[in-house]
Symmetry: C2
């Protein structure tokens, strides 16, 4: 699993072997079965995971019991609840695996301290956050501007991998529409 992390890092930043040893040393490998939780609502999140293999989701359950998926994460993505990690308050989100998943786990604090001691790593993390922010802002935009069908078309265009790997009911939840509506849209197209 560490090779995957190494490949990922070396594709994004110029980091020496020695530094990579340091980076590697803060991670712990972990496997999750499909449906297994990484974080449950009510728990404080003090972990962040790098996904080597598999697929996860971050979602919230509303008062009526309906799930709303905020984020999917695949290979070479990071996943955590930043809010709870920052505030140390119980999380309102759940994170679980939607496929059997291999990941490398560490804490946000350890990533921060790596960022300080290895500037190139810090730059990489900042780049990452910036891209993340941009992606999420685009999503706000899509949610505000588009009808159900347009949102689906945009997803098809920008993130087709989600459609290949997540069940349609989760795709619907991610788009903020019902399964039934999504089913009808697909049928029409």
């Amino acid at each position: 699993m560490f090779e995957i992390l190494q490949q990922y890092i070396s594709s994004k930043a110029n980091i020496s072997k020695a530094d990579f040893e340091n980076i590697q040393s803060v991670f712990v490998p972990k496997k999750l079965r499909k449906k297994q939780y990484f974080l449950q609502e009510g728990d404080v999140c003090n972990r962040i995971a790098f996904i080597c293999n598999g697929c996860m989701r971050l979602y919230r359950v509303d008062a009526k019991g309906t799930e709303h998926i905020v984020q999917f994460a695949f290979e070479n993505w990071w996943i955590t609840d930043r809010e709870s990690a920052l505030t140390k308050l119980p999380s309102m989100y759940n994170i679980d695996a939607i496929e059997d998943t291999d990941m490398l786990m560490t804490t946000p604090e350890q990533l921060d301290s790596l960022s300080l001691t290895i500037p190139a790593f810090g730059d990489m993390m900042r780049q990452l956050q910036a891209k993340n922010f941009i992606a999420i802002q685009k999503r706000i935009n899509a949610t505000l501007s588009y009808s159900a069908e347009e949102k689906y078309r945009e997803l098809l265009h920008l993130q087709p991998e989600i459609l290949l790997r997540a069940p349609l009911s989760m795709v619907a939840s991610y788009l903020g529409i019902t399964r039934e509506t999504l089913s009808r849209i697909r049928n029409k197209m």
Copy 2:
């Protein structure tokens, strides 16, 4: 105007007078009239502004000509289009003032270099980005989970200042609903 920035910074980070001199030196004061643009769609954004006084909005105009407000910004907020600033590509957003506004302008690059030379300032900026990310994630959540009325109630609860300072048509655009729907919701309550 610089006193406002100084107050803001000293409330968030422990920074010496000398360092503050350095920080101050990269900012240029600028006044915007109501309706004046800070950024127009199609231009590359290479500026970031700290708002000392007034109120601005970041929004997109869709194919039908409808405006969608992504963000409001008030006193002690920063505003920019991170996407265009990072990619150096033309922006798809507009930023303008919805009140006469005093601001302090600089470039993202200068903030980055300050972050490197003054670690406490860098920490502050990272904290800020993290909070920003959390806020925007909550907004995704609201957009996905709530009906028009629930979104309005949440706004009333979490960001009442928007209702006090922005015309209702803009509030509606921010919530992703029409003026008319917002008007009817308010009437009913």
